[in-house]
């Protein structure tokens, strides 16, 4: 019995050692290289905004990607899209400009991922701090970015089972201040005496589902 347990532990350690065999810098470079290998494509996209004070139905449309960075949405009607595309953001990282720190691996969507923190060397960088979780296939499964301009964003990414690492689902999580419009502008004159004056910060989500990829 002991032999079996020892063998099991040795095999687990071997797997982990292999997984960790490439350095954190190499791992990040590999992920970026993988993302850069994606050719031009079009796909269908479904978009759902989940913010307490925003009522909007699901939107559908087409997404066209043209290398290197162009993402063009063609959505029916008015839509609220994420300001940042996580994969473009990562793809444009010049890792030489960042100090890379590896933390303890974590499980993201039932996948053990290596946990890498990126800290800009230059204080002028828009990114204050970033953190990526990369799975065994070198795909970025989660990304957290703190930026000077837009605050904090978290992205959770599920991938399609394609040759290229294209997303099946992206969940964008963020904090947002609720809307305070003067009652005179909305016509709700009786709201002049509304006691709630402070803007509340709430967390929100955008869910993007991608399908029917067509590579060019």
């Amino acid at each position: 019995m002991k032999i079996f347990i020892n063998l099991f532990l040795i095999s687990i350690l071997t797997i982990v050692a292999n997984a960790q065999s490439i350095s954190k810098e190499e791992l990040l470079s590999l992920s970026i290289k993988q993302l850069k290998s994606i050719p031009n494509y079009t796909c269908d996209v479904e978009l759902k905004v989940d913010v307490e004070f925003i009522k909007i139905g699901e939107r559908k449309g087409k997404l066209s990607y043209i290398k290197p960075d162009s993402l063009k949405y063609d959505i029916e009607g008015f839509a609220l899209l994420p300001k940042e595309d996580p994969l473009t953001k990562i793809k444009n990282l010049n890792i030489k400009n960042y100090t890379i720190i590896e933390l303890e691996s974590e499980s993201i969507s039932n996948e053990l991922c290596r946990n890498i923190k990126i800290v800009p060397n230059n204080t002028d960088d828009d990114i204050i701090l970033g953190q990526v979780w990369i799975d065994k296939k070198n795909n970025i499964r989660q990304l957290s970015i703190f930026t000077k301009e837009q605050g904090k964003f978290d992205f959770l990414i599920d991938y399609m089972n394609y040759k290229y690492p294209v997303p099946q689902k992206i969940t964008v999580m963020f904090d947002i201040k609720d809307m305070k419009i003067p009652p005179g502008m909305t016509g709700e004159l009786n709201k002049f005496y509304n006691k709630e004056k402070k803007q509340k910060t709430t967390s929100g989500k955008i869910l993007l589902n991608y399908s029917n990829y067509s590579f060019k």
Binding site: E52, G57, L80, L81, F174, M179, E188, L189, N190, Y193
Partner: protein
């Protein structure tokens, strides 16, 4: 009855003041939409600044629906003044010129004459609102095209283009009910008055006083405000809540209908007993 209505319509159509309302509505719609064309993006950006920090917005936000919504919002406060100009004069004008004596000697009951005047006033009121709504919508379409409607109240609600026709129709119905309260109030005052100034100025004064009390005296009068008719003037906006509050919509209809019936009943009773000899 139809003959009486035709005669009443003929009378108001021959009066220049009837066209002041239509002219004012057309001018305001034109001026507003031209300013929206040049300044619209800046205004929308100011209102949605908070969202622009987080989202990238895609689609035509300035469109016929938004233009009509904003115009209804602004104009339903001022439309009562335009309504009173015609409906406030409908009985008192004839009392002042003396033609009421001739009318009441005709072989028609006073009730029929009164209701002919009421129906004519209703036609005028609805026509004014239709001109406002349709002109705004058609001009908005020509200038900006169609698109989803973004409504900012306590939060942000975004309605699909194909979800808007019925909302605008019911909003128009609620708005029209509010304006019919104004019409019936001015007819009631008109039945008491012997000149046109009193019902026109009187109706406007009542609306202004109640509006001011609604805003400034909100904390004091809060319990009775749901029963004051001016409180319901902007309730057409209820149709632009994402989840409709049917109770509030029903309450608005009940309160407004009550006032319409009350004012018309008082007006009719007084008109039937009106002394035309002195």
């Amino acid at each position: 009855m139809l003959k009486l209505i035709k005669l009443e319509l003929f009378k108001i159509l021959t009066r220049p003041r009837t066209y002041i309302g239509f002219g004012a509505v057309i001018f305001i719609v034109l001026a507003f939409q031209i300013s929206l064309y040049f300044q619209g993006k800046a205004v929308v950006s100011f209102i949605l600044d908070n969202l622009e920090n987080t989202f990238q917005m895609a689609g035509n936000i300035i469109n016929a629906n938004l233009a009509t919504y904003i115009l209804l919002n602004g104009l339903l406060i001022h439309i009562p003044i335009l309504i009173c100009l015609v409906t406030g004069d409908i009985i008192s004008g004839e009392a002042s010129s003396g033609t009421i004596r001739i009318w009441l000697q005709k072989p028609y009951s006073r009730s029929k004459i009164f209701f002919a005047k009421v129906i004519t006033s209703v036609i005028y009121t609805i026509s004014l609102l239709l001109v406002l709504g349709l002109f705004s919508y058609i001009l908005g379409y020509l200038m900006f095209g169609f698109g989803d409607l973004v409504v900012v109240k306590q939060g942000v609600s975004i309605f699909n283009q194909d979800d808007l026709f019925w909302r605008f129709s019911y909003a128009f119905l609620i708005g029209a009910t509010s304006m019919l309260v104004v019409t019936s109030l001015s007819i009631m005052i008109s039945s008491f008055a012997t000149n046109s100034i009193v019902p026109i100025v009187g109706t406007i004064a009542i609306i202004i006083v109640l509006n001011v009390l609604t805003i400034l005296g909100y904390t004091v009068f809060e319990p009775i405000l749901p029963y004051v008719f001016t409180t319901h003037f902007n309730r057409w906006q209820l149709m632009f809540d994402y989840d409709l509050n049917y109770n509030e919509i029903a309450q608005t209809f009940i309160v407004q209908s009550f006032y319409i019936l009350l004012f018309l009943a008082i007006g009719l009773i007084h008109f039937k007993n009106k002394d035309i000899l002195s």
